[in-house]
């Protein structure tokens, strides 16, 4: 509970700033005394770490009972010593500081585990802070000491108190009572101490002491500033200037009672008490009459002038300390204002805020400014002005029955506590009129130069540790829910009713009759349209033209018949057709984790359209993947889209569409398929689901690709390779690919080399690279340890390649891949493609940049450095066999 700013300047040693440097001006004896205090507090805090929750709860309960028993004794002492406030109200404060605070904290855990969040695999563990150096105010001296002592014991901390010098005796007595009770219950010796009559130099010394862990300064702004400037963690809570809006819909009688009881509570010493009441014109006279009826004296202009001269220091513009906590009748007498006996409150109309309106500042005595507002706008602006005149971050009050007004008021006020239809002072303390945390220390946020807007409580006296157990990221395995395969699987298109179907295909496929092959199986009632697009990576322009066709024919089903490019084009056409507002550029924004990416794909769709994909090559697997690549020629770039909403609804993997694939295409697409499977098998996004698919695809490729290459009309080999491509795609659709694809994308784009061929050039070197001990590990919460080399060894075992150690097995796998590449008549080095070393060297900066920007490597088991990408490019350029190098895998254990 902060004392008013200038009150303390007048009365206290906490205020003048700046504080002297630590130790300066202190004699040896004084330093030795301060060191003894800290040493005993440090020992007590250390010993306290051994206490259990039951120990501290027992001690706290006894202290609370002592506080309640001694509430009146301490209140009397406080009033006698400070000459501030009302004894009866101080008794209540002492009782709130004990009983209400206890009620709030009694069942709360503050030792060891305080909260478990099993759904998040988190456990919160409380640790004490240590030695707290605590400044307490003159306005609420004993209640603040009781509150802080109880909090400290509940949290197992020790406290050195520095009471306001004019409240030293009552505070020392409060500390003594708390300490003796605590000791009787087994608290550590030295857990509380109180500075003997002291100076700012003592405070400065302790604030900067290495063994003081936290400063808790309840006082004026200079005390708070000194605390925050000490370099120590600090809780500093300071003054306020509470605006009150009495709005026309309010219950005026009830509001006036609340304001009077609050503003006169302890003669207005609580810094959350009402300072200026802004009253709507419509109810102004009624409200003032009610104030007068219930003991308020409404000052006329002359009286307001007399009152101002008495309670405001004309030099500083702040309240006169002599008035703080005095009775209204006494202040009136000093001012020469005749009032009725029993006058509770002096009410002074003001016409604005600032130095020209002196009574608009904080007044910690029963003097209330009132302002007549013509409308809501004027009222809110006036409240903002009061709030900004020394009350930022503290408290604001509104009386209204209009929720909109209440909401607007809460938006414009800068206050940690915005109280509705309740008294400011008693309301802000919490636990009486609302469910705020009971406190005697109001955080005022950055507006008040504080670190918190909370009602300070036990959690501010704890270091809360979070035990974070490793969690497994949610994984998935998403593929089209209908996949038809084997010869004549295309017949199944008749199962899908459609009024209007668009077959998207390439010119060559239309020419050889594939479109007709599909059309004949469609239901009779289906109107069929054909959109022929170039057989190349789709361009934005082409896609948008296709979307216009879809709209024109009101298409409800798209059949993508072709290689990866055609299927990708159809995916994007469908996206733009269903969600015309989708921004392809935005959807292609980079991301690290699909689940957390910034861009969201449209979920509300205009036209629900079925997409059936019929691949005519055995490699890309686009028929089951959520990816699509298109070329933006206008901006000279490729756009990669990735989202499961892009996945086709149905895949038809019919080998009759690949029987005529030429040898080169068979090899290129086959190696693309193998690369998908190998990369998915070691991917950091991999799972048992993807691994099983990847392994099966690898086995099928090694067995059937050479046959399909040598004997293109071998139906079994073609069928198996077509299935292998789809199965590998199911793996990488969910586990993604790796660094091989990043390198191949960059190299293929720069030197116009077919994707499968580019993959082939990199593949042996990437296996060797991933099998070695990484320079940098890739964060991978779902995997334990580095396993890529073991996965490769497992693949070697699956293929029956032999080998005893992991290294031997990895080498055998690399050799098998190289042998396959030879069988498929692939060039084995980039140099073999006729690219000169100089040209390759010149391209290297661009290649490494492109490769590092490529999202494919994000799921690679090993995080590549740019220098490593360059090294891999050079290895691929030279084409030396990694299988013939020394040891590949540095890890031998199987």
């Amino acid at each position: 509970m902060g004392a008013g700013a200038k009150v303390i300047t007048t009365n206290a040693t906490h205020e003048p700033a700046p504080a002297p440097p630590a130790g300066e001006g202190l004699g040896e004896e004084r330093i030795a005394y301060l060191e003894r205090l800290v040493s005993q507090a440090r020992t007590a805090a250390a010993v306290f770490t051994q206490y259990t929750q039951e120990d501290v709860d027992r001690i706290v309960k006894a202290m609370v009972l002592t506080g309640l028993e001694q509430a009146q004794h301490l209140a009397r002492l406080a009033v006698e010593e400070t000459r501030i406030g009302v004894m009866e109200d101080k008794v209540l404060k002492n009782m709130v500081a004990t009983e209400f605070v206890y009620n709030y904290m009694k069942d709360k855990r503050t030792v060891g585990v305080i909260r478990e969040l099993p759904e998040r695999n988190l456990v919160e563990i409380a640790d004490p802070i240590g030695v707290i150096f605590s400044l307490t105010p003159i306005t609420n001296p004993t209640s603040t000491v009781l509150f802080k002592c109880i909090m400290a014991i509940k949290t197992r901390n020790s406290v050195i108190f520095s009471p306001h010098p004019k409240a030293w005796r009552c505070c020392t007595e409060a500390v003594r009572l708390m300490y003796e009770t605590a000791l009787k219950q087994g608290a550590p010796e030295g857990v509380f101490s109180c500075l003997e009559l002291h100076t700012l130099k003592d405070n400065a010394y302790l604030m900067q002491h290495k063994d003081v862990a936290l400063i808790d300064a309840t006082g004026g702004p200079s005390a708070v500033k000194a605390a925050y400037s000490s370099g120590k963690p600090a809780l500093g809570v300071g003054p306020g200037n509470t605006p009150v809006y009495l709005e026309k819909t309010a219950d005026v009688s009830a509001a006036v009672v609340d304001i009077i009881l609050s503003k006169t509570f302890d003669n207005g010493t609580i810094c959350a008490s009402e300072q200026t009441v802004v009253i709507d014109d419509e109810i102004y006279d009624r409200a003032l009459n009610k104030f007068a009826e219930l003991g308020g004296h409404i000052c006329n202009e002359e009286e307001t002038e007399l009152l101002t001269r008495t309670v405001i220091d004309p030099k500083t513009g702040f309240m006169n300390g002599m008035a703080v906590g005095q009775k209204a009748s006494d202040i009136a007498r000093f001012a020469g204002i005749p009032v009725k006996p029993g006058t509770k409150l002096l009410i002074a109309p003001i016409h604005g805020v600032g130095r020209e309106h002196p009574l608009s500042v904080e007044k910690l005595f029963p003097v209330l400014a009132v302002y007549r507002a013509k409308c809501l706008d004027e009222a809110l602006k006036m409240c903002v002005d009061v709030n900004h005149a020394g009350g930022l971050g503290h408290t604001a009050v509104v009386f209204s029955r209009n929720d909109e007004v209440i909401r607007e008021f809460s938006h414009v006020m800068n206050a940690g506590r915005i109280l509705v239809n309740s008294p400011g002072s008693v309301g802000a303390m919490g636990g009486v009129y609302n469910d705020l945390v009971p406190t005697f220390s109001f955080g005022c946020g950055t507006g008040g130069g504080n670190s918190t807007t909370d009602n300070v409580n036990i959690y501010h006296y704890l270091n809360i540790k979070r035990l974070a157990r490793r969690t497994q990221a949610h994984m998935w395995f998403r593929v089209p829910n209908q996949i038809y395969f084997n010869f004549n699987a295309v017949e199944n298109v008749h199962e899908f009713p459609s009024r209007s179907t668009m077959i998207v295909t390439s010119p060559a496929l239309e020419q050889i009759g594939y479109v007709e092959l599909v059309r004949r199986h469609l239901p009779e009632e289906t109107r069929v349209h054909v959109s022929v697009i170039p057989d190349a990576e789709p361009e934005v322009k082409v896609v948008l033209q296709g979307v216009e066709e879809l709209k024109f024919y009101k298409v409800d089903q798209i059949i993508a018949l072709g290689g990866g490019s055609v299927i990708d084009a159809a995916k994007i056409m469908k996206l733009k057709y269903e969600s015309p507002e989708a921004d392809l550029k935005e959807l292609a924004a980079p991301f690290l984790d699909l689940r957390k990416r910034v861009v969201q794909y449209p979920s509300e769709k205009l036209n629900r359209t079925r997409l059936i994909a019929i691949p005519t090559t055995s490699g890309t697997g686009s028929e089951v993947t959520p990816f699509a690549v298109l070329t933006d020629k206008e901006h000279g770039r490729k756009v990669t889209l990735a989202d499961y909403s892009l996945s086709p609804d149905v895949a038809i993997v019919d080998p009759q569409f690949v029987m005529s694939m030429p040898k080169g295409l068979t090899a290129d697409t086959g190696i693309d398929c193998l690369t998908h499977a190998l990369e998915a098998a070691v991917s950091s996004y991999g799972s048992a689901y993807t691994e099983s698919h990847a392994m099966q695809a690898i086995r099928m490729v090694f067995k059937y690709l050479p046959i399909a290459f040598e004997h293109p009309q071998d139906q079994e080999a073609r069928s198996m390779m077509h299935n292998a491509a789809c199965i590998a795609a199911m793996a990488f659709a969910n586990a993604s690919v790796g660094v091989n694809h990043a390198l191949a994308h960059a190299f293929g784009a720069r030197f116009r080399v077919a994707h499968g061929r580019a993959n082939a050039l990199m593949l042996p070197h990437v296996i060797a690279y991933n099998a070695a001990v990484p320079t940098k590990f890739m964060p991978s919460p779902n995997q334990k340890g580095y396993v890529a080399h073991k996965e490769y060894a497992l693949i070697a075992d699956l293929l029956g390649l032999g080998g005893h150690t992991i290294d031997e097995k990895v080498k055998n796998l690399v050799a098998a891949v190289e042998q396959l590449l030879d069988q498929l008549e692939f060039p084995r080095s980039i140099a073999d493609l006729g690219i000169s070393k100089e040209e390759f060297e010149r391209a290297m900066p661009e290649l490494t940049k492109l490769a590092f920007d490529d999202p494919s490597w994000r799921s690679n088991p090993r995080m590549p450095l740019v220098s490593e990408l360059e090294e891999l490019f050079w290895k691929a350029y030279e084409g030396r066999s990694p299988a013939k190098a020394g040891r590949l895998s540095q890890q031998q254990s199987a």
């Binding site: 020992t43 805090a45 010993v47 770490t49 051994q50 240590g130 550590p188 010796e189």
Partner: protein, 91 residues
């Protein structure tokens, strides 16, 4: 020089008295004194004060003080009051 080591069992209930006994034994020890803390669950401020005095005396006599069986709670207290570095700990 012959090393004369000594073992003193510390009882939590009578920790101060046990420390006093240990102090008395310091005179006859050369080299090393082992204080067995295995039955001490908690330590208080007075005990810490006694231990600080004791380790000072032991250092003056060139005696290494070994604390045996200190639990982690007590060990943390010794760390917090910056006494831990002055003892040798064995389990």
């Amino acid at each position: 020089m012959t090393m004369i080591a000594m073992w003193v069992r510390i009882d939590e209930e009578n920790l101060l008295q046990a420390m006093q006994e240990a102090r008395e034994k310091l005179a006859s020890v050369q080299g090393e004194l082992v204080l067995d803390f295995s039955s001490v669950r908690r330590i208080n401020a007075s005990s810490l004060e006694a231990m600080e005095e004791f380790i000072g005396l032991a250092a003056d006599k060139g005696v290494k003080v070994v604390l045996h069986g200190v639990n982690v709670g007590v060990y943390k207290v010794l760390k917090l009051v910056k006494l831990a570095s002055r003892f040798v700990f064995v389990n």
